[in-house]
Amino acid sequence: MADEFALQRADSPARTLMVTGNRAGLIERGRKDLLNLTSTALYDKGEAFFSADGVPQDYTQAAFWFRKSADQGNAYAQERLGLMYSVGWGVPENDVESANWYRQAAEQGLARAQYRLGDYYLYGIGVPKDPVGAIGWELRAAEQGYKSAQRWLGIVYLKGIGVPSDPQEAYFWSYIAYELHTAENGSVLANSAARKRDKAASFLTDEELTQTQERAKHWLASHRINAGD
């Protein structure tokens, strides 16, 4: 298998590159991947108790396994813990704890956690109120194609919640959310996005409208989206 490659390598231009073996790099990768493997296995255990998959639903057990996995850096488990602390499932309700876990997952790039954390910052739940910071997190989620964050931006920019109202941005994100929802037959949410989009459009000049539409179309063309609701 590997020697089959060696033959080919002999003719490749890379042969002239003086390269030595990187054993330390291989070991580091193995450690990281293993940590991922074990934390995923722990997350799966928690998820089984969380969604009663093959076992009776048990939030205390779910929280226990999510916690183990989250401590190893698993973003999905961290997001789950954020949720459980926010509603008090299997753990005492605690907004600060909730925000902490959402943040850890959000910093690792998990869109759902970014969306929730943004909401926390807008209203000051478990964190100091910070509307500008809130927009930053929602944008990161929206850029990943997370439609809830896109609809969220649609409302916040339309009504000027915590930030100055900006119908152009409201239109931009509602437009994208509508298109993505429609592509997935999500009619209720698509309708909700469409209402905000049309409301925002009523504040725009024709020129602004065309320009924003172009921008949104360009966004849709340049993003291959698969990031949930």
Partner: protein, 260 residues
């Protein structure tokens, strides 16, 4: 009444005896540390060999497919960024290949017998460079110590015995050294050895907190619970390799389709 002539020991003699004992103790401790270090090195080397054979080769294969994919993509568009990515991917693939096909991947399992350990301790006590009398002696001892470490890692007790025999045959205690001179020499040797014990302990710490040691600890802890971590990792990697292979085939199909 017969008078016995009792020669009282001078204070220097008393001190010399005490220092000789101290030196013997320090020598034993130093030998013990050398053994621990030689053990850890050999264990790590053997574990690394196993890791490279069971897992490393799969990373190398994965990197090879990554490189092929990147090179194929680079051949399809004129974007300099794509070309750069291909060069980097190829570089990484070569590095991984070399890492998994070098000497390190040949390391065998290391299970030292009690006899081998005892022999190594003896050698370390005898030939340790810290107990050299002069520079020439020190140099020679350094060489022997390196040989001893190598022999130990290879579980070669014959070589260890040879080192021990050769050394004892060639050097014995210094004649007519005198109490004062011997006292000074021993005090210096004790000092030097203590310093070296600290250095060895530092090296032990460094080695046992490295990535390789941690990986080995995790693997062994899982093994006790009946879990083969390296096998799990290998399965995961094989899945990824299969995926890359498919991507590569699909891309080639696409290129052929366009070519028609």
């Amino acid at each position: 009444m017969p008078t016995e002539i009792v020669r009282h020991q001078t204070p220097e003699e008393v001190e010399l005896l005490r220092k000789r004992e101290e030196l013997a103790a320090v020598r034993a401790e130093l030998a013990e540390r050398e053994l621990e270090l030689a053990d850890l090195r050999a264990q790590l080397k053997s574990f690394e060999g196993r890791y490279l054979r069971e897992v490393g080769v799969l990373y190398a294969e994965l990197d090879e497919w990554d490189a092929r994919l990147a090179e194929l993509e680079a051949s399809l568009d004129a974007n300099p960024a794509t070309a750069q990515r291909a060069t980097a991917a190829r570089h990484r693939a070569t590095e991984s290949h070399n890492a998994t096909h070098g000497e390190a991947s040949q390391a065998k399992e290391f299970r030292p017998s009690a006899d081998l350990k005892r022999l190594f301790r003896e050698v370390a006590k005898c030939i340790h460079p810290d107990f050299a009398r002069d520079d020439a002696d020190r140099k020679r001892r350094h060489q022997l110590m390196a040989q001893a470490n190598e022999a130990y890692a290879l579980s070669d007790s014959e070589a260890l015995q040879r080192i021990l025999d050769d050394y004892s045959a060639s050097s014995e205690s210094v004649q007519g050294e005198g109490i004062g001179a011997e006292l000074i020499r021993i005090i210096r040797q004790i000092y030097q050895a203590r310093k070296n014990i600290t250095t060895l302990e530092g090296e032990l710490d460094r080695l046992s907190s490295g990535e390789l040691s941690q990986l080995r600890r995790d693997t062994e802890a899982a093994h006790k619970e009946g879990v083969d971590l390296l096998a799990q990792l290998a399965t995961k990697l094989k899945g990824k390799i299969a995926q890359r292979r498919k991507e590569h085939e699909a891309l080639i199909e696409e290129v052929r389709g366009h070519g028609r």
